[in-house]
């Protein structure tokens, strides 16, 4: 289920695990880095999951999609993306802060809302069937339907947006 940002997301008992900051320009120049970072981070955080290797594969898959959204979102190359991974029991929280002009924010708000709507699955199927939808919509809907992600948005300041995805992957791996 996706909800729009509410207060208090920061107060949850999630333990921070990793934080990385990435240059959009460098990523665009060497796209493969995104894959490398997703795998690296996935390996780092997965070792104490019940099936570490398969967890890392699934987590890398989800993290890479989310990072790609953040990298593709920005029209400016000089920005940076901050990626944080936090954990609470069986759930990993990925937060991605990326440059996003205030005027563009509604795009992501609408997508997060649509991905978590009542009829999310029907909508997702129609996107798969070829309905025109922005790439990030397809990815966010897939996250919710395929990975049971819970998505929220937070806006830190006028220039940046934070996408928060709670991923209950431990349950999906076993």
């Amino acid at each position: 289920m996706a909800t729009l940002a509410k207060d208090g997301v920061q107060d949850t008992p999630f333990e921070p695990m990793i934080e990385i900051e990435l240059s959009i320009e460098a990523l665009q120049a060497e796209w493969r880095q995104c894959d490398g970072i997703a795998n690296y981070v996935a390996n780092m955080i997965s070792h104490n999951r019940s099936d570490s290797i398969r967890y890392a594969n699934l987590f890398s898959s989800a993290l890479n999609e989310l990072m790609e959204i953040a990298f593709r979102a920005s029209r400016r190359l000089d920005g940076r993306v901050v990626c944080r991974i936090l954990r609470c029991d069986g759930i990993e929280r990925v937060t991605l802060t990326f440059p996003c002009a205030a005027a563009d924010r509604w795009i992501y708000e609408a997508s997060v809302a649509r991905a978590g709507a009542e009829d999310a699955e029907t909508q997702y199927l129609s996107i798969l069937a070829g309905d025109l939808a922005p790439v990030h919509q397809e990815v966010l809907s897939a996250m919710v339907i395929e990975c049971h992600a819970r998505l929220t948005l937070e806006s830190m300041d006028a220039e940046a947006l934070t996408l928060v995805a709670d991923l209950p992957l431990e349950r999906l791996v076993s």
């Binding site: 120049a29 796209w31 795998n39 099936d51 570490s52 398969r54 699934l58 790609e68 199927l125």
Partner: protein, 392 residues
Amino acid sequence: MSPRLSPPRFRTEYNENDQVFSISGTLRPQGVQELASSLAQLQDAARRSHGVLYIDMRRLVLMNNTAFHALTGVMVEACRARPELRLVVVISTIVGWAARRFRHLSQIEPAIAVETYDSDFYPGQAFLEEGGFIPILRTQTKMTWRHEREILPRHGMRPGLAVADICCGIGDFAVLVHKEFQPSRIVALDHSRSSLAYARKVADDFGIQGIEYTYGDAAQMLVSDNQFDFVTCRHSLQIFNRPELILKELHRICRPGGRIYVTNEKNSHCLGEPRAESIQWTYNEVAKLFAHFEMDVELGPKSRRYLIEAGLEDIRIESFMVTNLDGDPQDFVNVVSAWEGVYAGDMAVRRGDSPEFIERFRQGFQDHIYAALHPKGYAGWPIWVASGRKPA
């Protein structure tokens, strides 16, 4: 800015005879144009196929949405262009995202079916993965460990290494290594869910933490390259019809300078006194029986060649004999009687052997047991250990 060109990490291939289009590796393009030739190849395959075209994605490790979207687009289009064509997408149960990502495909295009399928990695899989083998493995490892514990250091094992035990069975070797050599990391991989469940339980019961048990396919592991200092694969190369494919994977996950350690049997050299002849006859037949199912339980002495051909250096090879005199003879008896159960009771029956043959076949195992328990008897099971270093 144009993306820097680097070699693709995926492969596509069309086998026209079998009508199988396969995609393997990591598929995370920045833009769909990077996939243009593969997509064209798939379109072409769909045009040239009759009836069913299989799209084999079992070895596809990772894929981004760009690739997913493009590939499924081509598939759906192909079905719509040729209503008589059916597509079967084959995925592996190991790769969690794939099962999730592809499961909706047939809902949007009924001519596409999605199948999870990885039960035929090797011909004898059914005999070895199911419950019947578990008791054998447990006693076997107990007996081989007496020897391997001393042998392992000669092959480079020492405390603090990152170790992977591939085809770990019920994981008892991993537990023993964990206790004896305190590895910095130890991963134990197998493709039998029941063995892994057993392994996790054993580790829990002993309060052992830190062994990473994982469900996987030794021929295509989800582990990235150059991860481990010491990669073991025990009694398992001999059960694959193409051991070189497994070795290639062991080599890939081993760090340059690290070592790969394998143990294998030569079943026809199992021996015993008294009743040597009957015993020898039966174990010769064991080798033939496995060969019938495309497994080579005579591989032991060939392992030197396999390791050399896999590109390893500083090859070390030795053999040891597990006997009835190692600890309690009853352990030896238990192993032999478990062999009898699976080889005579299951595999020979499956091959269609006559009752007379099976009776004689069983007799050799019984005689081996007789030799093991005989006060002046001697019964042996020889094993070859080989290791090699991945060039730095």
